[in-house]
Symmetry: C2
Subunit: 228 residues, 2 copies
DNA sequence: ATTCACTCTTGATAAATATCAAGCGGTGCG
DNA sequence: CGCACCGCTTGATATTTATCAAGAGTGAAT
């Protein structure tokens, strides 16, 4: 682990929550890996060997269907920890992980992590908070899939990327449209058409740059709740 | 709290995980409520006032869409604890809760619970495990919604209700079809047709009683993975 | 037993989304 | 420059699922 990696690690919410000592114990035997875009960190069905903390870049959790189809379940960005659940429970992984932006990743042995959670109260409490947040993220996604149309899902997603104002806003999508489509549970073609539908609500998109004329209007459109 | 309630509480996984002392601290000021079918424990958008442990009966987490539509996100049965995430994070609730089978429920003040998690290591560790399991449950549901057809979702759901054998099996659905349809992300009509589709795979259903001629065949049909 | 209120099923139709097939506009490269 | 490639869009069509509208069971109360 390079000094610069450690500096990045210090910026993570996990570090803020548990402090230097807990982190140091956790990363004593950890590996830092540079993973290029497209790299596969692990495959669905594998044993959970590691817990991952992203220092830089982006990773997508991908679930493959039986017939070759695959969707993106969730993105993880710098500072976040992922796949704790399988590692904690010592079970097979439900998803694969693919690097979607060149990344530097800390890999902590699952066994080390389990031991740490069992003995380090600060870490256990921090993990409760992390998992609780993720629970809500997933509930949100299920609500989206079950009750919103494709255009509404896109609108709701865009709204999560910007601060909660009412007026105009600009944002840049971090991911390719194909992946975004997967995350939103639709095909790339349908995503394209969803953007077209949002045009009459004042959303213009060129490439990854998206402009929103009225955040309020968009929020009304998708019945966006502010419940974070 | 009646002695019989305490006996039920002893049977919960939570009790097994944290032991008598932790539980006793937790329930010192808890209320036990008898809630009839149809009762609403809390509404989406409320502050999280309590954490709930189900002693008997069944509760459904319901999410309402903007336009009056509503789906069932998940069922919780005797022995389970729910809505910890909002209570832990002290946030507004993302879902409502409706009693789907007459229930007896322990209500623990959210503040008490937060304090206990922060100070009781055994409880924190137990909650990490509970939340990790739930994470996987929700991931499964998202995978189902994104990659499986309605009939496949039904088949996969039925398979979760029976032991992992290969031969014939019988099971009884605990919930009405309308609610089950919501849980599976489809309308009651579509659920009905999904059952018809499964008939040629050896699934016969009369009312809530379901018979499966060949579990293996059903598993092949929906590409069921054994990853619990 | 009769009726009423249900839930569940079935059929016909409509709406949403996926699929298939071009086409467009960049970008890298011979 | 020209060419192929890639990511995205657009159009036409097919498929899936929802919606609307009857019926058919089922069970409880009278």
């Amino acid at each position: 682990m390079r000094p610069s990696d450690y500096e990045l690690l210090k910026l993570t919410p996990l570090y803020a929550a548990v402090g230097k000592d807990s982190i140091d114990r956790l990363i004593r035997d950890a590996i830092v890996q540079a993973a290029p875009k497209g790299a596969v960190l692990f495959e669905e069905g594998d044993e959970a060997q590691f817990v991952y903390v992203i220092l830089a870049g982006q990773v997508g959790l991908v679930a493959g269907g039986s017939g070759g189809a695959a969707t993106l379940i969730e993105f993880f960005n710098a500072g976040e920890i992922f796949v704790a659940p399988a590692a904690i429970l010592n079970l097979r992984l439900l998803v694969s992980a693919r690097v979607t932006h060149d990344a530097r990743i800390v890999m902590i042995a699952a066994e080390t992590f389990r031991h740490a959670v069992a003995h380090d109260h600060a870490l256990a409490v921090a993990m409760v908070a992390v998992l609780a947040k993720h629970w809500r993220l997933l509930i949100r996604q299920i609500k989206d899939l079950k009750l919103r149309s494709t255009a509404e899902r896109l609108a709701a997603y865009l709204l999560t990327l910007i601060p909660a104002t009412g007026g105009p806003a600009t944002l840049k999508l971090a991911e390719e449209r194909k992946l975004l489509a997967g995350r939103l549970g639709m095909t790339p073609e349908t995503l394209s058409r969803a953007f077209v539908q949002l045009r009459k609500l004042g959303v213009s998109s060129r490439g990854r740059q998206v402009q929103i004329a009225s955040v309020r209007q968009l929020r009304d459109f998708c019945g966006f709740d502010d419940l974070v």
